[in-house]
Amino acid sequence: MLGNGAIALGLLEAGCEVLTSYPGTPSSEILPEFIRLSRLEGINTYAEWSTNEKVAFDVAYAVAVAGKRSACSMKQVGLNVAMDSLMSSAYIGQEGGFVVISCDDPGPHSSQTEQDTRLVARIAKVPVFDPSTPQEAREMIQEAFSISEAFKVPVILRPTIRVCHGREVIGWDQIRPVRVPARFQRDPNRWAATPRFRYFLHKGLNQKLKEIQKRFEEMGAFNRHSMLAFKDYPFGIISSGVCYAVVRDLIEEFGRDDIPVLKIGTPFPLPEELVREFLARCKKVMVLEETDSLLEYLIGDRSRVLGRESGHVPREGELVPELILRVINAALVELGLEPLVIEEEATFPVQELNLPVRKPRLCPGCPHRPVFYAIRRSNPKGIFTSDIGCYTLGLNLGAVDTCLDMGAAITMATGFYHAHRMDQVDRPIVATIGDSTFFHSGTAGLLNSVYNDARFILVILDNEITAMTGMQPTPGLGIKADGTKGKRIPLQDLIKGCGVEYLKVVDSYNLPELISTLKEAHEFTKREDGGIAAIIARHPCVIAYRKEAVPHPVKVAVGEECNLCKLCFERFECPAISKDEARGRAVINQVLCVGCGVCVHICPEGAIKPIEGEGNGA
């Protein structure tokens, strides 16, 4: 079972009745697994893809305020979006157990930052659990709910990508459904506390943390060490999360019982007694944790702790096993102790092979490709703000200049517009944003741009799905998380509702129309009575909807007119096209090609042609 499946299982076993989420790697599979397992076990639960993480947080939080157990899941940068809610809810608390699952991404493999949710937990003053394996995540959820309920405080579970996307053998017995009736008790002094009361709530929260800390001291399942009684050690390791699993394997593999390990499963509030006892019996202690330093800061004793602050552990990137081996080894050597390995195995200098970098690219036939191509073609001197999704890969087509966070395509375009307008500089600006991202956080920015008379072209890349995170439905599709029908919210209505007056819908595969519409849109932004010009470039994602996306595949081939200008495989960058060394022209890989037929329109020599008689290249 996938780690995210183990998390979903843990939620159901804990009697969690409601789960809300916004997709984001590595958290995306938790909600679909929650729905699948609920069905499998015949348990009545409610799960939704919310429009963004703050919305997800608030919906689930209210469920817990009404007394039921609930949870919300998201990726670490998603928690930033819900930060406002998290901070305030820590003070107010709730009645039913409430667990926030925020998945971190050391590496980062698929995120904008390497931020550490455990530090966020410290800022918000809520307890946090840090699992080392999928099975442990499942077990921690049970404790997280009981702590949350006993102390009426939100609790965070912080799995990292290796837990979420780790696979492990997991079995389970039939799950007992739990049903707590929703019973919201009016109490405005608490649920709508004014600043005067917040002081007391803050005091109460600090008191709770003290008591939770005591509970954590005794939580031997998650906080434990491997020291023998009455023995002192020259060197020990304190570790949490996935690093602990790696350390444990290393100690076992090399048979080094002489290095005691303290595992901390609940880094905040820190079980200080336990740490003090461990420190008292080890001369030096190395701290291994991901993604940033929390334990190291909380422990504080710089004279004896080896970690990021002392320069022994890298400050960025994932702590992979070979790296952990290396840093432990170096520390042992430095302290004059027996290292784990004397001589490292010889490695091959892979960099010398000059292997081509295989960066991610838009899929063959991806509907975003012609749109970026058209944007670049019609406004070569433009500023291209973009956003978070598959389409960030428009970078490769030279049509993405910025990518900050969810929704920033629109807000940054506004900033760029005003910055240049003040100086009477006229530069075309094209913002690209996906459908799901627009629903997530596009409208607030768009309202602002319209209201403050910013001028730019807004292209909504509507592929009718949240593609990058694994094909989740959007409000525009009107299908809910469990596959049942929801209310469809047409993008057109939403954009018009924001006050946008120019709106065109174009099929993303229709390159000529895209180019002419972009021209027209540009004119509109410059008109006296003009404004924001919005274009919905619509075509289904070829991966999610192959049949609908290419109902009539066009078989294409490169003719001898090809003069190897490289445009089709470098600028247009279709992965199905490459250079045929032998024949000195471009060649189509018929296995990869999906037959979208767009490349026929981009070749300046007209060398890419549909093959007669095979498919209708209309």
Partner: protein, 193 residues
């Protein structure tokens, strides 16, 4: 205590079906009664970039394989195989989907020999295309590896997993690809003995 675990690194490009490959092997190992841990790549990296997966068969805590420790490296792409070559332990096995006759490239040959790593290449893609199933190149690679006989999983177990996991008309074709690749692996193994 002896450290008993069989470590497999899977590599290739996003979209080549590494996740499915890993699922089949993990499922087969589980049915053989082994504990299994794996680490997969989802998200942005799946869009055509380099992808790597870890699969650990045996009783361990972490899902990640250390460099120099993998028993074998199965790669759906030759370049990705070289990129990850340092995962292989001495006397490990490298098994790659490649159309090239002269695999592996000259630059790594000496290194592989010194480390006593055996390297095998087979054009799994062409085999899969022959059945009209380019996306089943991964099944070909499994069959080929099984034929070579270094994996701790029996051929029949994989057959039954594929029978259960693949659907519709593709099932028969997948089994055929598996079998042909398996025979090729056996043949090469026979030759070298």
């Amino acid at each position: 205590m002896e450290h008993k675990v069989y470590d497999i690194i899977l590599s290739g490009l996003g979209g080549q079906g590494i996740l499915f490959l890993s699922k089949i092997l993990a499922e087969a190992a589980m049915r053989e009664g082994y504990l299994v841990r794996g680490a997969e790549t989802h998200g942005m990296a799946q869009r055509g970039g380099s992808v790597i997966g870890h699969l650990r068969i045996g009783d361990v805590s972490s899902s990640l394989i250390r460099q120099n420790c993998a028993d074998c490296l199965l790669s759906l792409d030759e370049i990705e195989a070289y990129r990850n070559i340092n995962y292989l332990k001495p006397e490990g096995v490298l098994c790659v989907n490649t159309p090239k006759e002269d695999f592996p490239i000259r630059q790594v040959k000496e290194f592989l020999e010194k480390k006593k790593i055996r390297a095998y290449g087979f054009d799994c893609l062409s085999l899969a295309i022959k059945e009209g199933m380019a996306q089943s190149t991964n099944i070909g690679l499994i069959g080929f590896s099984l034929g070579l006989g270094f994996l701790p999983i029996p051929y029949n177990q994989v057959v039954s997993v594929i029978q259960d996991l693949s659907k519709g008309p593709s099932k028969e074709k997948n089994l055929k690809i598996l079998e042909e690749a398996y025979r090729e692996g056996k043949r090469i193994q026979g030759d070298s003995n």
